[in-house]
């Protein structure tokens, strides 16, 4: 069923009795040409672009729980392409361009809202670093603007400009950045992939990867064995556990990241704002809740929840930037598991096992990358060569010394 204004009106007249499920409840077949492990944003987008752009035969997505229960439904919904390094900028800008046409492409309202992102700077050195990043972006054709204090104050008057310790001096702005409805991205890709014949199999946990003579042959699951010509791993958060089934060790640690939302408030913050002196970012959802987050917990974790010291740190950052937040009440918080790589950048590559491909290591930046992650992984799996914008995301870049370390933190995943 195609969604349109006409379909909404027609269904309204029929009492909304004619809507059909967005995707089929597929039963696993004994064999597929391509099996994607992981029904999150990356896996669903990969399946969609495989079906749309490439001829690879039958495709299945295997999800251990239900669609949207992992990081795709646990993030703070920010989309942006304000990166500073050559390996990253073209990839994230490609993703931003896909976001701009996504809803028409998949015929689903993902509530993409290009409300802009303001990265606040608080001292001269930080201004210089942001000017450099903005220039790098512009050289790659990405929009970036450096605002001074007066110009920023005209747009965002409610910051604590004269904070004694962290005075606000200005901001780097990307106006095409913004937010999108995270769940809708998963559902939209699932529906669009399903419409192109992809089998989306929920409650189907992969328990083993079958390999013979260095070639992948299929997977063992809680719903039986499934043969496969090619297998793609897209399970960020659990990458090491799944890769271990194929005997692989990865340059990845799992860490917990929390996110928070306040009670619903009237329209207050019409953009995305990040604090430059600590780690804090905030936007307001269409329901009115202030959605915000900060650092990862700092210790390895597979528990999808955090602890109170991080909550305190995030709220301190928020109140240092926007004292008015002290009046809002926190409604809920939740956690997700991040694949933290050793340089803070993702991996989209072949593995040493033939026909087994890997997509992961998204750190806490996977949501914005969802469309390009799927697009480039589909390209890699179908053509066995990396997409030009994702060619830096090699698995061997650590051994080769070609790291993409935006933060310059070194091989310390808990600091990225």
């Amino acid at each position: 069923m195609r969604y349109s204004a006409l379909s909404v009106i027609t269904q309204a007249l029929r009492g909304h009795t004619g809507w059909t499920p967005a995707w089929r409840k597929a039963e696993p077949a004994p064999h597929y040409d391509v099996v994607i492990i992981g029904g999150g944003g990356g896996g669903l987008a990969t399946a969609y672009y495989l079906a749309k752009n490439h001829s690879v035969g039958r495709i299945a997505v295997l999800e251990k729980g239900w669609l949207g229960n992992g990081s795709i439904g646990r993030n703070t919904t920010i989309i942006r392409s304000n990166y500073g390094l050559p390996g990253n900028i073209p990839f994230y800008e490609f993703s931003m361009k896909l976001w701009e046409g996504l809803e028409q492409d998949i015929n689903y309202n993902a509530m993409v809202s290009q409300r802009g992102i303001f990265n606040i700077y608080h001292n001269d050195a930080q201004r210089d670093a942001f000017a450099r990043r903005g220039n790098a972006m512009r050289l790659h054709g990405v929009d970036a603007e450096l605002l001074d204090r007066a110009a920023l104050r005209r747009e965002i008057p409610y910051l604590d400009y004269d904070n004694a310790r962290f005075p606000v001096h200005g901001a780097l702005v990307q106006r095409r950045a913004g937010t999108a409805r995270h769940d809708a991205v998963a559902w939209g890709y699932a529906r669009a992939a399903d419409a192109r014949g992809v089998d989306i199999i929920e409650n189907c946990e992969v328990t083993g990867i079958d390999i013979a003579n260095g070639v992948v042959k299929g997977v063992q699951t809680t719903r039986g064995a499934i043969g496969a010509g090619k297998v793609g791993i897209a399970v960020a958060g659990a990458s090491s556990l799944v890769a271990a089934m194929a005997g692989l060790r990865l340059p990845i640690e799992s860490h917990a990241l929390q996110a928070f939302v306040s009670e619903g408030l009237k329209p207050l913050i019409d953009t995305v704002v990040t604090f430059g002196a600590g780690h804090f970012y905030i936007s307001q959802s269409d329901k009115g809740g202030l959605v915000f987050g900060g650092d990862i917990e700092g210790y390895n974790s597979y528990a999808a929840r955090g602890n109170l010291p991080t909550l305190e740190d995030v709220c301190e950052g928020g109140i240092a930037l926007m004292p008015m937040l002290g009046r809002a009440r926190l409604l809920r918080s939740w956690g997700g598991i991040m694949d933290m790589t050793m340089d803070g950048s993702p991996i989209i590559d072949k593995t040493p096992v033939r026909n087994l491909f890997f997509n992961g290591g998204w750190c806490y930046g996977g949501f914005k990358a969802t469309p390009a992650s799927g697009y480039c992984f589909a390209h890699l799996m179908a053509r066995e060569e990396p997409h030009p914008v994702a060619c830096a995301y090699r698995l061997d870049r650590f051994a080769a010394g070609r790291l993409i370390d935006e933060k310059g933190a070194g091989a310390q995943p808990n600091l990225h």
């Binding site: 271990a244 210790y299 974790s301 109170l308 050793m342 010394g401």
Partner: protein
């Protein structure tokens, strides 16, 4: 998470700093050549679920280095020992 420091008793998580996996050991060859052992030590991780031994530093307490055995799947602290 609260940890029972052998010197200070039970203290809150915010007094401690996590540093690294205690099972990793630094290669002893001096590091003049980029061997596979060094690549494994610096970059590759087991990253298994369940209990794990790791180094923590009691920075806001007695400044002791501690070996904490912790279940990374549940955050349960199983033991806190001096190295």
């Amino acid at each position: 998470m609260r940890m029972n420091c052998p010197h200070c008793g039970p203290r809150g998580l915010d007094e401690f700093i996590y540093t690294r996996d205690a099972a990793l050991s630094r290669p002893r060859d001096g590091g003049a050549a980029p061997t596979q052992n060094w690549i494994d030590y610096v970059y590759m991780r087991e990253n298994a679920a369940g209990p794990r031994r790791e180094y923590w530093y009691h920075s806001a307490g007695c400044h002791a280095w501690l070996i904490v055995t912790r279940n990374v799947s549940s955050h349960e602290i199983l033991s806190v020992d001096l190295p």
